[in-house]
């Protein structure tokens, strides 16, 4: 059984973690070898979704060619193998987040579903009229709208902690907004539009002083930083697989077991029950209580393979390599006359948002695309952030550990080309 999941890949043969070699890393990502509009692909849209190493694609293919079956159901061998692989993936996520117990990992479609799950279960049970939910001004729409829906339904108020001109959370203001009416706090670990790393350990402590649980939206953090939910002591942590070099359609919600156990189920259906009669249904234990219906089995296995891969590369190697690359990129863009970086937090990861005098970001995106350079332009699902900085949109280059200085040089040359066209 185990042989079906054995990963045969060159990097596994290394006795210990090899020194970080970006050229070798790039070999692991088949998509990066292509040309776009006749130019080598420079993929700088990693905050939207990241590319997948061959081991992830192979793991999913292996599931479909050898183990495909439903989980937690069949007595037959394939179902046993599928269940084992799916549950192994859960343990990989648990270990990746340094959680104490695999039961604290709920598989979901992604960060958005994770946040909606908490808002609709914990939130609906605990938030009442006159209560408050606290978020920050740098949240992605997916960490705003679920709370708006909840607050509207309950007659509660959504409070928003401000950010400063650098794009950093104003901690004093955040702390002042916590009070006896606060029932929940939900904040980004890393801002998708600005790259700001929030001091989440501190935010958790502040929330806990009021006995308020806190969810950390880790969508933009896990691809760049090592996360330890026990050290953070956060109550919930959410992330998406597809931003973590895994497939789309899978993500995870970490929740402290005692909270998950007390929460009502999210969706009703198969797998989330222990027994069903027309009179009464007894819900399954955590995490299955929150996993109604057949889950995205292959995607969970793919995510597990992505985590194995990242562990071999080493999250600390990734963090230090990217830190240097982001500094290089920041300098390269800042040097261009007329270019302005939006988001100059002292602690940043992964994201470089900028605007160019006299040129709309959409035009920047089109011209860069013809140079083979993929960036995101627009409001990045963070319209309040755009408003805060008084811009309708930005151009956003977002990094992964397979990006190189050459990628950044191509970006800088592309921006010069934009300036040439727009005179």
């Amino acid at each position: 059984m185990a042989t079906t999941r054995e990963v045969v890949h060159p990097s596994t043969r290394e006795p210990s973690a090899p020194a970080f070699d970006v050229r070798r890393i790039r070999e692991d990502f088949p998509i990066l070898k292509q040309k776009v509009h006749g130019k080598p692909l420079v993929y700088l849209d990693n905050a939207a979704t990241s590319q997948k190493p061959a081991v992830v694609i192979e793991a999913m293919q292996r599931f479909y060619t050898q183990d495909c079956s439903n989980v937690h159901r069949g007595v037959h061998l394939l179902s046993e193998r599928a269940t084992q692989a799916y549950e192994d993936a859960r343990v990989k996520v648990q270990n990746f987040l340094h959680a104490a117990d695999a039961r604290e990992t709920v598989f979901v479609r992604g960060t958005t579903e994770a946040i909606n799950l908490v808002a609709q279960t914990y939130g609906r049970r605990h938030v009442q009229a006159g209560d408050e939910v606290l978020i920050t001004a740098m949240e992605h729409h997916s960490n705003i709208v679920p709370w708006q829906i909840l607050c509207e339904e309950k007659g509660a108020a959504l409070r928003v902690a401000p950010i400063n001109d650098r794009g950093e959370l104003v901690l004093d203001e955040f702390e002042k907004l916590l009070n006896a009416r606060t029932r929940f706090v939900s904040v980004a670990h890393v801002s998708n539009a600005l790259g700001t790393i929030n001091p989440v350990r501190q935010l958790v402590q502040m929330a806990h002083r009021w006995n308020v649980p806190i969810l950390i939206d880790g969508a933009q953090a896990v691809p760049h930083l090592e996360v330890d939910v026990q050290e953070l002591d956060c109550d919930f942590y959410a992330f998406s697989g597809h931003k973590l070099f895994g497939p789309t359609g899978i993500g995870a919600l970490y929740g402290k077991a005692r909270l998950l156990e007390a929460m009502p189920p999210y969706q009703g259906g198969g797998d989330m029950i222990s027994s069903v009669s027309f009179e009464k249904t007894i819900y399954n234990h955590i995490p299955y209580k929150f996993e109604a219906g057949t889950p995205s089995i292959a995607a969970a296995i793919g995510l597990g393979a992505a985590i194995d891969y990242l562990n071999r590369v080493g999250m600390q190697n990734i963090a230090s390599y990217e830190h240097a690359l982001l500094s290089y990129a920041t300098e390269a863009i800042a040097q261009i006359p007329g270019a302005h970086i939006i988001g100059r937090a002292r602690e940043k990861a992964g994201v470089l948002s900028f605007v160019l005098d006299g040129v709309h970001p959409h035009d920047i995106g089109t011209i860069l695309d013809r140079e083979g350079i993929a960036i995101r332009t627009g409001h990045h699902c963070a319209q309040p952030v755009m408003e805060r900085f008084g811009v309708p949109a930005t151009a956003r280059a977002s990094l992964a550990f397979y990006n190189t200085k050459q990628d950044i040089n191509a970006l800088a040359a592309g921006i010069q080309l934009v300036k040439g066209i727009f005179g």
Binding site: H360, H362, I367, R370
Partner: protein, 150 residues
């Protein structure tokens, strides 16, 4: 001409940098707002409609080079046109930017609008070019709703 040069033709760049008829209009009897939530483009079209004729037209707003130039050129060419003429031009323009004109091998009399022929090579930019035209249609219909490209 590369496809980028075809998209960002001199006339388009000129109109995007120095948009014509870019002002609020006193005494307008029709007005409509257009919004593209994808890129944040926002435009308002003002019309002075006399009988069936566009006696005056102007716009305000912000957007990319393509949408701004499209708004500017639209106001230039529609002044004095009837509703039916405006509708017919929109149809030809729409065919041009979506590539239907090229497919059909037609050469409609588009005048200045022909500078948008390069847009059809950039499908994601079609909405940029057509946003103000959709907004115009809303204004002509006397509908005060916000037009979006979604």
């Amino acid at each position: 001409m590369s496809d980028l040069d075809g998209l960002y033709q001199e006339v388009i760049l000129d109109h995007s940098k120095k948009p014509r008829n870019c002002r609020a209009m006193e005494g307008a009897n029709r007005r409509a707002d257009g919004y593209n939530p994808l890129c944040g483009d926002k435009f308002t079209i003002y019309l002075k409609l006399q009988d069936d004729r566009i006696a005056d037209i102007s716009f305000q707003g912000t957007g990319c080079a393509i949408s701004t130039a499209s708004a500017s050129i639209l106001t230039e060419i529609l002044k004095g046109k009837t509703r039916a003429e405006a509708e017919a031009l929109f149809e030809s323009f729409h065919d041009l930017v979506t590539g239907k004109t090229r497919e059909k091998g037609e050469t409609p009399a588009l005048g200045k609008l022909a500078v948008f022929s390069g847009v059809c090579g950039f499908p994601v930019r079609v909405k940029c070019a057509t946003l103000v035209w959709h907004t115009l249609r809303t204004a002509l219909d006397g509908d005060q709703k916000v037009t979006t490209t979604e």
